[in-house]
């Protein structure tokens, strides 16, 4: 070694007491030489452990017996490091490179988009397919019980009419195998208005208001075809899995700083998935209707009327016409109805 070898001032702690000892470090033939008042150590570089750089904090060199040196992470020390042939781990170099950090952020956004758009939906689909029937039935029954208490009241539709509608729905040929096992129940929709609701087990709730709003049975069948689509493609379960995954991620990402606000991204993404499912269900409904000699335009027609705020409100609201749309319209979970109607009416 040349006589101009760099020497570094450091504090030495022997690991047995808290006493700090001023020492000088230098390199000599693949070994670290440590010299100070009452201390002299010579160790092979291979057995030493060097802490990673962390900005301005001191670096630590740890000896096999637990003793360590604390030394400033400055130019002199870096010279010594270069001389020793030490090279930081790749991750460490990235952390302090502006380009790498920026690239990480871009890659992170790309990853998250990919997970959100592709991986999570795929995963949710697989998981939803694996959910045992007994569980979907229990979940569906629980949901209906809850809605019966909070939203629905018993249907006032004549039993004969209920049976006729049920018979027509059960007679439909479903385009996909295995066919969904369907069960229809009728309720007065209350604030849910003219609507149909599919639960994962194949239980479909039809509201009296929907039956009243329909100009013919084909329109009701259209809405129910769409609901069968939701059941067949397990949209309810998939949405539940997707939103809980997003919710967990948001809570983790935003951390305890803003637990209160971590719900917002979950809600936005739920609306996004939900719109996607509506489209899938529309496509399914069109296929089912075509297969059964029904015109998908019937679904389009009733959707148009369900979308008109005053129409729904008049059916649903206990207090007559509303002067402005309900807040839920601002966060619509259905894709722009105009677009859906156009697609259903086809070329």
């Amino acid at each position: 070694m040349t006589p101009s070898d760099p020497e570094v001032d450091a504090l030495y702690f022997d690991g047995r007491s808290s006493r700090a000892c001023a020492v000088r470090l230098s390199l000599a033939g693949g070994e670290l030489l440590l010299l100070g008042e009452g201390v002299e150590r010579r160790e092979a570089l291979a057995v030493l452990r060097l802490s990673e750089p962390l900005g301005r904090s001191p670096r630590l060199i740890t000896f096999p017996d637990g003793a360590h040196c604390e030394l400033p992470d400055d130019a002199v020390f870096r010279g010594l490091l270069t001389q020793s042939g030490h090279r930081d781990a790749a991750v460490v170099r990235w952390q302090f490179s502006r380009t790498a950090v920026l690239a990480s952020l871009v890659a992170l956004v790309a990853c998250l988009l990919m997970v959100h758009e592709w991986l999570l939906p795929q995963l949710a689909r697989r998981l939803a397919e694996g959910v045992p029937e007994a569980l979907t039935e229990r979940l569906s029954d629980e949901t209906l019980d809850m809605l019966d208490v909070n939203v629905f009241t018993p249907s006032s539709l004549p039993v004969a009419r209920q049976q006729a509608l049920t018979a027509r729905v059960l007679a439909l040929t479903q385009p996909d195998v295995p066919a969904v096992r369907l069960q229809l129940v009728f309720r007065k929709g209350g604030r849910m208005g003219a609507n149909a609701l599919a639960l994962p087990s194949g239980l479909i709730v039809v509201t009296d208001e929907l039956v009243a709003l329909a100009r013919n049975d084909d329109e009701i069948l259209g809405v129910l075809a769409q609901e069968i689509g939701h059941v067949s493609q397990r949209h309810g379960l998939r949405l539940a899995i997707e939103s809980s995954a997003i919710g967990l991620f948001a809570a983790w990402y935003f951390g305890d700083v803003s637990t209160l606000l971590a719900g917002a991204p979950a809600a936005l993404s739920q609306a996004h998935y939900s719109r996607r499912f509506e489209r899938e269900a529309d496509t399914f409904a069109a296929r089912l209707m075509n297969a059964n000699g029904l015109a998908p335009a019937a679904l389009a027609n009733i959707l148009e009327r369900m979308d008109a705020p005053s129409g729904v409100a008049q059916e649903a609201g206990p207090g007559g016409a509303k002067t402005r749309p309900a807040p839920s319209d601002y966060f619509s979970t259905h894709p722009l109805t105009e677009e859906r109607i156009r697609d259903l009416r086809g070329p």
């Binding site: 504090l11 702690f13 022997d14 690991g15 047995r16 007491s17 808290s18 006493r19 700090a20 802490s51 990673e52 962390l54 900005g55 301005r56 904090s57 001191p58 630590l60 637990g66 003793a67 360590h68 604390e70 991750v91 990235w94 952390q95 302090f96 490179s97 790498a100 950090v101 990480s104 952020l105 890659a107 992170l108 990853c111 998250l112 997970v115 569980l135 979940l139 604030r191 990402y253 935003f254 951390g255 700083v257 803003s258 209160l260 606000l261 609201g317 206990p318 207090g319 007559g320 509303k322 002067t323 309900a326 807040p327 839920s328």
Partner: protein
Amino acid sequence: MDKHTTALPVAFTGQGRDYFGIWAVNLLLTVLTFGIYSAWAKVRRMHFFYRHTRLAGAAFDYHGEPLSILKGRTLAFLMFMGYQLSAEAEPLLAVLVFLILMAVMPWLLHRSLCFRMHNSSYRGLRFVFRGSVKQAYVVFLGLPLLIVVSLGLAFPLWIHALKVYQYGSSGFGRSEFQCALSRVEIYRIYLVAGVVAIGVTVAITLLSGLGIAETLSLEEGAEAASLMMVLGVALVVGLMMMLCVGPFVAASVQNVVWSGLSLGPHRFVSAVSGRRLAFITLTNLLGVVFSLGLYRPFAELRLMKYRLESISMLPDGDLDDFMARTQADLAALGEEAAEMFDVDLGL
């Protein structure tokens, strides 16, 4: 030995710029590895915070191994999934799983405290946690049950026991921490907090109650609108708690705990200001929200820096005379035999 009573303030030298790089790269790798890298990320993060924390010219150090952390995280994940899945499958089974989790939780928390202290060092000497498993059951199971039974009145009692257990059972090398914390003082803090919390909630509810009544009288059946109002009120109450109560409680508790702490003849003092902490909390919250989370590393660092730098040591003599525990000491504590792992449970 001459006695000097000059306070030694804790200094924190971490820079937001450096931590941001570490955070961004860690986040990307964690997402790419589906969370597995988070154990390595945690070690880098702990290194950053420990080694930038300086007292009397020397830095703290963290020795946790990523694999031990990964083990703890896997365990926590399995417990969480086990509970979730059993809750979905069979509510009765979930109750059983919940009881089992309750029974093992104190033991896990005890291991986790041991892990954290054992892997922290200063001037080459390790910290140690000597609290008993039996006491862990009192603190993490008995007292929480008492809180439920006493309808929350025992909450300050629990905080007191928790702090005394956490701090008073810790040691540095062969020296031990003493935690002189008065129950009256803790009760006083929570009494004031409780009064403020009730006052804030009542005030906000009254103010918004007028608003809700007005909406209802203007528009009959605006059920959805009033629901939004209720949610809005809950959000505002939550935010006010986070800003008007949380920081003041955190500041007072940190101050009384540290000001009652001693290590041999050395004492500590903490002077966190609740107002300053509330200001940091508010600006951090705004920063995180408006930067879509990018401000998070800066927010975390800012809060940590303020809380750490509020602490000073009041030394009695110099800090060179602490001695490490011998191998025999450690064996007696069972530190060598027991497999240690970290469980993040937000202590």
